[in-house]
């Protein structure tokens, strides 16, 4: 149900289909080209839905690919290119948001989730130590027995 929604949009953008990264864009220096490709995978094509400029065939994506190759050729670092694009298009252009007051929670959450979950687990374990297991009532035992009958339960 999601794939074809996705696909249907891709179809729309393919109407005037060109292709992402055309042969004429490729830089002659393989090292620089590799950097350009890696960088363009982290930049959003702003007129597309959740596509990087590396994947997108929109004209804007092509313009950005050419632009960042120009800048890389001129000797700028990845961060300089990124800063330039952010100054022009805003943080929205970065597929990996930078750590700031807006994205602090976003970045902290995975680690925080693990830590909080871990602490909760430890607490639960500690609490569990003191209490004895609740025995089943006679009726519950009988019911369980009935359910278990006829099927073989192997201890694993």
């Amino acid at each position: 149900m999601r794939r074809f929604i996705f696909a249907s949009i891709a179809a729309l953008s393919l109407v005037s289909a060109a292709f992402a990264v055309e042969p004429d864009e490729v830089l002659p220096d393989p090292a620089l080209e590799a950097r350009a490709r890696a960088l363009s995978k982290t930049l959003r094509c702003m007129v597309c839905q959740n596509q990087s400029i590396d994947d997108s065939n929109a004209p804007l994506a092509r313009d950005l690919r050419l632009l960042l190759r120009e800048r890389i050729k001129a000797g700028e670092s990845d961060d300089q290119v990124r800063d330039f694009l952010v100054s022009r298009y805003g943080e929205f252009v970065l597929l990996e948001p930078r750590l700031n007051e807006h994205t602090f929670i976003l970045w902290a959450l995975p680690a925080l989730g693990l830590v909080i979950g871990g602490i909760a687990l430890l607490l639960a374990l500690r609490r569990g130590k003191g209490t004895a297991a609740n025995p089943l009532s006679a009726e519950e035992k009988r019911r369980l027995q009935r359910l278990l009958e006829g099927s073989d339960v192997k201890k694993m």
């Binding site: 996705f6 696909a7 289909a17 807006h102 989730g113 687990l121 359910l147 009958e149």
Partner: protein
Amino acid sequence: MIAELGHFSLALAFALALLQAGISLWGAAKRDVTLMSVAGPMALAGFGFVAFAFFCLVAVYVQSDFSVASVYANSHSAQPLLYKVTGVWGNHEGSMLLWVLVLAIFSALVALFSGNLPMRLRANVLGVEGAIAAVFLLFILTTSNPFLRLDPPPVEGRELNPILQDIGLAIHPPLLYLGYVGFSISFAFAIAALIEGRIDAAWARWVRPWALVAWIFLTLGIAMGSYWAYYELGWGGYWFWDPVENASLMPWLAGTALLHSAVVMEKRDALKIWTVLLAILTFSLSLLGTFLVRSGVLTSVHTFANDPARGVFILAILTLFVGGSFTLFAWRATELKPGGLFAPISREGALVLNNLFLSAAAATVLTGTLYPLALEAITGAKISVGAPFFNRTAGPLFLCLLILMPAGPLLAWKRGDLAGVAQRLVVAAAISFAVAALSLWLVQGGPLLAAIGLFIALYAIAGALVEFADRTALFREPLAASLSRVVGLPRSAFGTTLAHLGIGLALLGIVAEAGWSEERIVALKAGDQVSIGQFDLQFKGVIPRQGPNWRDLVGRFEVRKGGVVVATMEPAKRTYLANGQSTTEAGIETFGFGQLYASLGDPTADGAVSARIYWKPLVTLIWLGGVVMAIGGACSISDRRLRIGAPQPARRSTLPAPAE
């Protein structure tokens, strides 16, 4: 006439579902045997009406009755029959009807196979299922009627979106819905447990096979969707961390956690409250997925139901079920008595850790998906959260999970021996490490991350095999003894091994694709040569080809390996005649587990045509791993103690135990 019959049938199904919910839940609350016994037949009848409505919709699609708005918008008389049928769910209205059909199927199955379930539990479960069906049927009838007529009727339809005219549409959405909606059963069981305020190992025994069924379908659905994107979209990607994809990954993660915690509950009577919570969470995430995709909240072109009325309705559904079930949980969970105790180092402990990581991963995906929406709503700031973020956050969580995975099944219940487990895994770890180091040396300058990933993938695979060898005492006892042990092994043990093996294989495919793929982006003229991997491709030129409702521009490649022709590839650029849209049809050849992948771009000014050619070693393992996991799930389901409908003493006529 057929459309009206379908519409009428849907309305009847709605009334019936409403009654099913009301009568069953009321009967269960009053312990009225007559009222409770109505639930089953009503669920079956409800399935009949929904199935008839669905059949009517298929019929108007097959007849190309363009007086029905949905047919007009999504079909064309020249479309092949298969795509006329699959077009039924290639749009909002029809896909919602499919959703409800799957729900009705599951309700009917529960009604059929739950004869030996305590009557109150059964009535409550079917009551909750009825309530879900009623709400979704109301949603369809009021906002998304697939049987809406057009007056005057158009002569020709607008055709199904070209990218959807693929066998993938026939398989992917039904599989995915079987997964999403299948989790409604564990949800219904959880709600029933909360209503009754009691839960026992027998409950877990009932929930686990249903959750397993849903999980198998969801696993296959996701794998299928991923492969579809891979071959259809033409740039060889298979996972984009797109919100709609995340929407299906979240219930999968929660559902996987549910399966594991249900094992603990069944075997050791522990983690009851947590299992109930997971059952609620998993279905809530399925509903959230439906909401994200259907409501247009993603403010994206992606979501094709951009009708705010629908969005608000779905939000109301979400609030009702998620809010309602969590309120019930907060109110009643304390009634559920905690059970079996265990030491931290034990099988239970390992499964808890598994749950911790899976939940953290689900939470990460959820946050990443919703964060931009929330941030924009609160502060107005627009940010993007895309693939690089998820790779960096959810990625390590998955890798940790896979490192821990082999140890789990080797630990004993209650109290395990970590040193003993480490001893048994050390060989697996050493071999994996050696191979990974070798790969780093062989692929000079290859990415270090790929070597680390390779190590973890191999270790997970080897770990699964070690566990299997351990169970069958392979190498410790004579082969014949081991073989007889294999025969005697419960099928759920095969299930564990296969599922764990599958995830290791999938990671191996992912690592190989990311680390060792080769790519050529070239402009080609007839006669040009490209070499990639161990292959030499010769471009033979471009020829036109005509299909029933499309026209192709086919590029022919002759593939040689060591001078011998091993294949011809024919990637194409396809233009659909009815609406002029075009798609890329990739040419794919499989060699071993690797694939050669070619897709064709546009002609360039100087008469050449641009093409992208990839060699992706081991890439098919990504999806085969998913299939192996699903087979593992199926093995586990066929285990005698879980088999649905296994002979049990009849309970139909007896009253449920009054002691509570």
